[in-house]
Assembly symmetry: C2
Homo-oligomer: 150 residues x 2
């Protein structure tokens, strides 16, 4: 636990975030502030504090990808869309702003969604109101219902 | 093998592409046409024709992520950069244009690189000349030398 790290805080003090999936090694949350035209961005985060995906321990590889897949499929069903964009940044030169591994998963319907998908800050420019906690909770609830662990 | 699929053709007829890594299940190539300010984009492609990452067989999860990591680290060393952006699109609504799983790995130094990273077509707009085969070969060679399989 690093007191200055936003994701460490989320994992410690989870009441403030909308968790859509959790197991021993990973947690999946909806982004409180940002969404595409169809709904919240999801973030897949390992519970172990690892700076970026290149430093993820090898024994977590398979599970990370499986959780990315199940979250993406749940988002497709919850938002009734086909398009999903998955990305992560390594280091600030690539746009990483929180130095704790997190994989962005975004439901996309348009090129505008893909712009938001790639540059989440665009959302702040174009959509001035932050999303209400209530709205975010409802979005998270929709995805949560669609998570199917085999 | 699907005759109309560009990646099936690459795997069948590999002389035309710059392969930087290959094993039984995956192949990594440099993109012939597109690069960021520091060098070629790399694409990680499973040999089995799978439409998108959500359909990748579970037994390939761990290996895919390991190859993404080793390619990214080789690119950091070959291009002497820290920033790496990793992304993939699922379906055309998210910008997928070749319907065969491929993960983009891009070395980034600037926001312009991140724009190219997210919208490879931008390269075609701003950098009018296609990259020569010779230049692409040299870039692939640099990365190939830095691939370290443990």
């Amino acid at each position: 636990m690093n007191k200055n790290c936003r994701f460490c805080q989320i994992i410690e003090n989870r009441n403030n975030e909308e968790i859509i999936f959790e197991n021993d090694n990973f947690i999946v949350i909806t982004d409180k502030y940002r969404k595409t035209s169809v709904g919240s961005i999801c973030l897949v985060i390992p519970k172990k504090h690892v700076k970026n995906i290149l430093e993820l321990p090898q024994n977590l590889n398979a599970e990370l990808l499986e959780i990315i897949k199940l979250t993406s499929k749940a988002m497709q069903r919850a938002y009734n869309v086909k398009g999903i964009r998955i990305w992560t940044a390594v280091n600030k030169e690539a746009g990483q702003s929180i130095f704790y591994t997190h994989i962005h998963i975004l439901a996309c319907k348009s090129i505008f969604d893909r712009l938001i998908a790639s540059f989440p800050g665009v959302y702040d420019l174009f959509v001035l109101k932050k999303m209400s906690s209530e709205k975010n909770f409802k979005l998270a609830e929709k995805i949560r219902k669609e998570i199917i662990v085999k």
